[in-house]
Amino acid sequence: MFGKSNNVDQLKPLLEKNFKGSKDATFQNLDNGNYQLKMIYINSVIDTSKIHDMFVKPFFEVEKKEQYTKYLQSLGDYKEYKNERETIKDILHGSVVFLIDQTVHLIGLNHQENNSVLDANVETTIMGPQKGLSENINVNLNLIRHRYHVPSLTVENNYLVGDKSNIEVVLLYDSEQVDTKVLKKVKEQLNKVDRSIVQSAGELHRALTSRKRRLFPTLMVTERPDRIAYNLSLGKVIVMMEGTPFVLITPAVFYDFMTSMEDFYQPYFVGKFLVLLRYIGLLISLFLPSFYVGIISYNPEILRIQLAFSIASSRIPVPFPSYLEVIFMLIMMEMLVEASIRLPKTIGPTATTVGGLILGQATTEAGLVSNIMIIIVASVAISNFIIPINEMSFSMRVVKYFLLLFTTLFGLIGLVISTIGLIFYLVNLESHGYPYLKLFFSESKRPSKVS
């Protein structure tokens, strides 16, 4: 247990070389007359207020060196010395290194500033729990443990992701429910991650999927502890990351992205109605623009004559073909959405007013787009926001341009074909071995216990 005698001789110069230059590294020498020790830590990642109470005070009260060493070893976050590299890593993650004579002791005193629990503001519910996760992994574990009181809840935390960022990643699962195949796959992929910096759940998501260029999320990103607990009970694996209030849930299939936790908190029929509403919204936001182009430019006889005429007369002043009109307005809408996300909250409403009201009004007045087009773009935008998980709604925003392209080229047949192509593509996707999109048909090799 006591390190070999040459540990300190090797470590000390190494530490000095690495940290002497930085301002927040502290090299402290203590001497109470009987013996000396050296404390090394980075005061920006540890709880400095505790240093005095925990280490300095006892040092002057305890007379014998051995006794003080015993005291240190009895502390909860005591770690044994392994080698120099580990030690440097530990210091960076908030440990205090003690050099007493020829022995090295490490004590974790990690402190993170932003451990307050945040309001859930990406996936909000009306009647569900209002708080989301925090940016501190321990606080998050605490939140989840308080929602899921089962002894089989397992926490595995021996992963560090990113060569430079070295972010701590924790796997969380219910060992009785989990599908071991999925677990194995996730672990394999976590070990394979080769990126220098990983900072957000979305980035980790990218690193964890084998397909490098993908359009749809195959892992779910969430900030809601209640969703995490629910998914744990379904046997899914949760991947948590230090420093972000979002976690990844795997496997995640298409339907998961269309459910909101609200559905469970509402009466049965209300919940079903909400789900139905979302699918209708999905269809509208995907198909409406292409349907418009297909009907206007290829098969105007589809609509009933009265409707066809009111569209025709509203389109008369428009000087360019329908697909340009649609693309122009859709791009404006996307920009508006993007602008209101990036802008500070105080200016956001101004952007929407200018864009939505003034621009919309002015373009129709100027005869650049038809009135009907404004209605279509607005309903596409609104119905796109109905999709509860942000990632999915972003994907769908992109997909509708593919449909639009095919419809512009081939008319409504193009729309049908590209829809079928989209279905084939979705069906072909997998989320850690689970088919992404399917209905009832159950495989013979169905993995156990996971819905």
Partner: protein
């Protein structure tokens, strides 16, 4: 990534290939109705009239404008092709919902006239067909005051979304054509006439047989035909009690069906059940005499129904399709059945059973 690249190449080729079919709605001229008249200076030629609606930017203000294109030619297709050169927008027949046949054209072989309509893929099978009197052009040129969209009033007449009247007979292109082709039934069309107030009125019916016999039914006969044929229940009936007094019934529910008896000497029995309300009367209704009133009503219906059926039989016309019915109950080859029926029809006798109920006397007694 091999697949991705392949898809890309395919797409690229497609982009080069396609340039066709894309035509915006405002670059199209919609033909809303079409008329066919006899050509004035050509043997066996047609005069084709197209009513083309022109959408206008400020559609909320007043009714839409239209253009009437006319062209004479030996064939319909040729006439249409010539007219394409007369309008800058692409002629689109996808919304053509009304075909008006001039009354002169009715004397021709209609299945030849209608051939063009069934062959074109863009012509709706649910377009309405009617006879224009005196000719199709007059009818198409009429713009009733309440019309916002050109020809919309005709669409409302025939579609069940607008007026519902026992005098209006709806004939879709598909069932008109079916009746033209089917042996054992004669095709019928509503007659459209301009009226004094600048609008159109539809109250008559024209029946055309395969032997080119034409018969026009008057208003009352048309009403009776619709009742017998489809059990039309939105009509009124005047029942005279004596020389000066009468009452009017409004129908609530009408049920009409016929049965065929005795195949060699057929008797066709019509059963008409209706229930009705009193809508108007010149005298106080006496409850005890209800039975009598009912009887009177039954007799009135019976009389006019029998009159209609006999008139049709006299002219050897069969718009009800008794012949088809005969074919469906008789065995043997179709040609034989038709021959048999042609011989039988003049000797068919009709029986009419009417059962009336008067449910109430309206809001007052």
């Amino acid at each position: 990534m091999g697949k991705g690249r392949k898809v890309f190449y395919v797409l690229f080729c497609l982009l080069l290939l396609s340039s066709c079919g894309f035509k915006d709605i405002d670059k199209r001229a919609f033909v809303v109705s079409m008329g066919i008249d006899e050509a004035s200076n050509m043997e066996d030629g047609y005069e084709i009239i197209l009513k083309v609606a022109i959408p206008e930017a400020e559609s909320r203000k007043e009714s839409e404008k239209y253009i009437l294109l006319t062209e004479e030619s030996q064939t319909i297709g040729e006439a249409v092709n010539i007219m394409k050169g007369r309008i800058s927008n692409e002629l689109d027949f996808g919304h053509m919902k009304m075909i008006v046949l001039g009354s002169d054209i009715m004397k021709r072989d209609l299945s030849k006239v209608m051939d063009w309509f069934t062959r074109r893929r863009d012509i709706q099978q649910i377009a309405y067909v009617g006879v224009g009197k005196p000719d199709a052009k007059t009818i198409l040129d009429v713009t009733p005051k309440i019309e916002r969209l050109p020809s919309n009033s005709l669409f409302l007449f025939f579609g069940e979304t607008g007026t519902e009247s026992a005098y209006v007979t709806t004939s879709y292109l598909f069932n008109f054509r079916r009746d033209l082709k089917e042996r054992g039934i004669d095709a019928y069309l509503p007659v459209i006439e301009p009226n004094d107030t600048g609008g159109l009125s539809i109250a008559k019916l024209m029946i055309s047989s395969k032997e080119k016999i034409l018969l026009e039914l008057n208003e009352e006969e048309t009403k009776m035909f619709n009742i017998l044929n489809k059990g039309y229940d939105k009509f009124n009936m005047v029942v005279e009690t004596d020389e000066t007094n009468y009452f009017v019934l409004t129908m609530d529910q009408v049920d009409s069906s016929y049965t065929f008896m005795n195949r060699d000497q057929p008797v066709i029995t019509f059963t008409i059940n209706f229930s009705s309300l009193v809508e108007e009367s010149t005298f106080e209704f006496n409850k005890s005499k209800m039975e009598k009133y009912k009887k009177l009503a039954e007799e009135t219906v019976q009389k006019s129904a029998k009159q209609l059926l006999l008139k049709l039989q006299e002219n050897n016309l069969d718009p009800f399709g008794f012949g088809v019915h005969y074919r469906s109950i008789q065995k043997g080859s179709e040609e034989e059945k038709i021959k048999q029926w042609d011989a039988l029809y003049p000797n068919v006798s009709f029986k009419i059973d009417v059962k009336a109920t008067i449910k109430g006397t309206g809001v007052v007694e």
